[in-house]
């Protein structure tokens, strides 16, 4: 799972039937993330009700499908939780709405 910030939304009408009715959020990964294709963004299915500006935990891979409740979902990223705060190596990094995300290095 990775940490990210919701920065936008994606709308699509013509899509795989399992995606009908699913909310698609545009997320920017905050810390280290090693994707196949490095584009700086990841589109995730949202069933938790995350809004733009909130920091979220995104579930990648097979667990994303388990979380959505059906293994037939053609997704590999789903928002699993909305973050209140993050603590790194004893120092608290607060990620409340509106604050700039920091890198994960300890201060």
């Amino acid at each position: 799972m990775i940490l990210g910030r919701v920065i936008g939304q994606v709308w699509a009408t013509k899509k795989n039937p399992y995606l009908l009715g699913q909310k698609l959020m545009l997320v920017r990964p905050i810390a280290w993330y090693n994707p196949d294709v490095d584009t700086g963004h990841i589109v995730c299915v949202d069933q938790v009700g995350a809004e733009v500006g909130q920091d979220v935990v995104v579930c990648l891979g097979a667990p994303a499908r388990w979380k959505l409740g059906d293994i037939r979902f053609p997704v590999e990223a789903a928002i699993a939780a909305i973050v209140d705060s993050v603590e790194v190596a004893g120092n608290a990094h607060c990620f409340k709405d509106g604050l700039q995300p920091h890198g994960m290095e300890a201060q």
Binding site: R5, I7, G8, Q9, V10, W11, A12, T13, K14, K15, N16, L19, L24, L26, R28, P35, D36, V37, D38, T39, G40, H41, I42, V43, C44, V52, G53, G61, A62, R65, I71, R72, F73, P74, V75, E76, A77
Partner: protein, 103 residues
């Protein structure tokens, strides 16, 4: 999944088993830094908003050239949509109407 623009189709006379009958499209991913805040991105995003990388994806939705699509990259997404015989990892899962970056 990632956003990308379809820039063309691929044809090949000799293909691996599992590929014949599948439409292969070339997709250039959208760079997040190039998305303008507050502006909806629809079909035909400008060239400078796209990464130089080209992802080849299997297309089951008949996306046209120039359309903005959502590409799922992962072997399980492939298993679920086009089946395990298809030797690919990227599949077009949606044709995007609009994508907007708000912050």
């Amino acid at each position: 999944m990632i956003l990308g623009k379809v820039i063309g189709t691929l044809w090949g006379a000799r293909q691996a088993d599992g590929l014949p009958g599948r439409k292969l499209v070339q997709v250039r991913p959208v760079k997040l830094n190039a998305m303008i805040v507050g502006k909806e991105m629809r079909d035909d995003p400008p060239d400078d908003a796209l990464s130089d990388e080209v992802v080849v994806a299997v297309d089951g939705l008949n996306a046209d050239e120039g359309q903005l699509v959502l590409v799922g990259i992962g072997s399980r997404v492939r298993d679920i949509t086009v089946g395990r015989d298809c030797p690919t990892k990227a599949v077009v899962v949606a044709i995007v109407d609009a994508a907007q970056r708000e912050i």
